[in-house]
């Protein structure tokens, strides 16, 4: 059953189409990756799904509801975003940040109640951040901060989790920790995940399906083994690569080839 459906979406900021003719469906509980070079429209696509931008053409539906007719708060109860990183001028505590996930469920005046504290606590326990609850957000390491942002997203109790290059500032261990956690939530809670990333190998490892964007259009879409091929990657990224099978997982693995570095 599809939970997210895009139909012939087109978007432009000014003149040229940033995205054109984008149609796809994401199934409930699916882990969908979005790959593509810089400027291919990945982030714009994410902003269309979370309602920050409105499409010029076409429409999108979440759980059968048209996003165009939804209020912001209603959309925030369906879709949560884990951003790249979050640095704050005025530091909130971890618990305060996670509780902010409850805001779309509260009215303008209402304070968080027992139930909201309970939900926030559960979200922090799931992400192993409960012990950090009283700490200031700016006193955390990058990996800890990302876990807190996942907890905030979980506190929103969304149907779809959007990841916007969430591991861009993390080292390899924290990248794996991060995606392991997301994958576990994805499987255990049947939480649908749409992840934008630059890391083709991580996408190969975790995603059920991958959308490869190029110049605002879908270049190809499907299982990692189908999408991550030498011809697709070279066509889109315009750089020589080799694609091998990972000896352990059997999944496709991309290695960039530089003629300069290899003295060819």
């Amino acid at each position: 059953m599809s939970i997210l459906r895009l139909e012939k979406i087109g978007f432009k900021y000014v003149e040229d189409w940033t995205l054109k003719d984008i149609s796809f469906e994401v199934l409930k509980g699916e882990f969908m990756g979005v790959l593509g070079p810089n400027g291919s429209g990945k982030t714009t696509l994410l902003k269309l799904i979370d309602g920050i931008l409105r499409p010029r053409e076409g429409g999108l539906w979440i759980d059968g509801l048209a996003v165009a007719e939804m209020k912001r708060a209603a959309l925030a109860r369906l879709v949560a975003v884990v951003p790249q990183d979050s640095q704050m001028v005025f530091p909130f505590t971890v618990q305060e940040i996670v509780l902010m996930g409850r805001v779309p469920h509260l009215g303008q005046w209402r304070f968080e109640g027992e139930r909201d504290f309970e939900i926030a606590r559960e979200a922090m326990e799931m992400t192993d951040t409960w012990s950090l609850a009283a700490r200031g957000m700016n006193a955390l390491s990058g990996g800890e901060r990302q876990r807190v942002l996942i907890a905030r997203a979980l506190a929103q109790q969304p149907r779809i989790l959007l990841l916007d290059e969430p591991t861009a500032f993390l080292d390899i261990r924290h990248q794996i920790d991060f995606f392991d956690l997301i994958r576990r939530l994805n499987r255990e809670q049947a939480l649908t995940v749409v992840a934008v990333t630059h890391d083709i190998n991580l996408a190969s490892l975790y995603c059920d399906r991958i959308i490869l964007l190029n110049e605002g259009r879908i270049h190809c879409m499907g299982e990692p083994a189908k999408v991550i091929t030498v011809s697709h990657i070279q066509d889109v990224y315009k750089t020589p690569v080799s694609v091998d099978r990972n000896p352990v997982t059997g999944l496709p693995m991309v290695t960039p080839l530089s003629s300069t570095a290899m003295n060819l």
Binding site: D50, G51, I52, K71, R72, A73, A74, L75, A76, R77, V79, A80, V81, P83, S86, M88, V89, F90, P91, F92, T93, Q95, E96, I97, L99, M100, G101, V103, P104, L106, Q108, W109, F111, E112, F117, A134, Q156
Partner: protein, 341 residues
């Protein structure tokens, strides 16, 4: 000192404590002054003096308490609260710890209006100087928002730059006006520029209080949205906040509260900058607590500062802005050193 998340009981508890602080400071302020009045009789007079037939202090002492000191204390409280409230909102909205109520040039516009008023002798008519100052600040708000608006949006950085530039322009205008003014006018101008709580009349005090009350209710309503905007405007949108509307409403509310306060009291510095920081260090960054706490503590702070300003060199008075900076800066540095931001 940040004990867990903000709940309604916690907001009420802290607000009530700070209200008691404000009341205590106010009573002390009423008791001191160049004319000595006995402490106990004066407190009795404050408690029962409004009743018909109560015989307490002599009529002239009564006048000093009820017609001179009490209005002045109330006024100082309202102005301090207004500047602190606006300071919290501007710092949050612009996500800039250096922001204060004057950062958008509202004070500069008010000052130009007031200085023109003083030089033209508008002090003789009711609302003469404050009316011109208010007109000046309103004009500035329209000007700055207009300059900062690009394609229907008002980015924080553009807004900040517009404010700084407008302020610089007005400073030049004020310098020009000062250079053409006489000795006696100059003293009035200097006092106004440094902040002067002795100018206000009953109606002005009432009006300032009304703007403060309305401003607080509006800002408190959008406090949760402001929390989210502080963590980033895009994040706020993703969490369901109507960012554009929230920003617009808060900007206008904080600007108007500032404009009114500045118009009747001059440019009292420092309060709107340090009180929000103090409260944030002590109570955390949640605006649902920060707004009422800053308001009440800012009120108490300015009442105390004004008490010092009018007693330390009695019978002459110091500009209250001098005291706010002299007392505020060291205490702020102490807080900064004690707790890393």
């Amino acid at each position: 000192m940040t004990q867990g998340p903000v709940t309604l009981p916690r907001v009420l508890r802290i607000s009530l404590s700070l209200l008691l602080v404000l009341l205590a400071v106010s009573v002390i302020s009423i008791l001191v002054g160049s004319t000595k009045i006995g402490t106990l009789p004066a407190i009795k007079e404050l408690l029962y003096g409004w009743q018909d037939g109560y015989v307490g202090l002599a009529p002239e002492e009564r006048t000093i308490i009820f017609s001179i000191r009490l209005p002045r204390v109330i006024f100082a409280g309202i102005v301090g609260a207004s500047l602190s409230l606006a300071g919290v909102v501007f710092q949050g909205l612009l996500r800039n710890p250096l922001a204060d109520p004057y950062i958008l040039g509202i004070s500069g516009g008010a000052a130009v209006g007031a200085v023109i008023g003083i030089i033209a002798g508008a002090g003789a008519i009711p609302f003469g100087i404050s009316g011109l100052a208010f007109a000046g600040s309103l004009l500035t708000i329209v000007l700055v928002f207009g300059v900062a608006k690009t394609k229907g949006e008002m980015p924080s950085n553009t807004l900040l730059l517009a404010g700084v530039i407008v302020n610089a322009f007005f400073t030049a205008v004020i310098m020009f006006l000062i250079s053409t003014s006489s000795q006696t006018q100059l003293r009035s101008v200097m006092f106004w520029l440094m902040g002067d709580l002795s100018l206000a009349e009953g109606k002005e005090i009432l009006l300032t209080g009304l703007f403060l009350a309305a401003g607080f209710i509006v800002c408190f309503r959008y406090a949760k949205g402001l929390n989210l905007i502080v963590t980033g405007e895009e994040t706020a949108m993703q969490l369901g906040v109507d960012v554009e509307r929230t920003r617009k409403v808060l900007l206008v509310a904080a600007s108007l509260v500032t404009a009114v306060a500045v118009s009747v009291s001059g440019t009292i510095g420092f309060v709107g900058l340090i009180i929000p920081h103090m409260m944030r260090m002590l109570l955390g960054s949640d605006h649902r607590l920060l707004l009422p706490a800053s308001m009440l503590f800012g009120g108490a702070f300015l009442v105390a500062a004004d008490t010092i300003a009018r007693t330390v060199a009695a019978p002459s008075e110091l500009p209250v802005g001098v005291i706010t900076a002299l007392c505020g800066a060291p205490y702020f540095i102490y807080l900064l050193r004690r707790k890393t931001l």
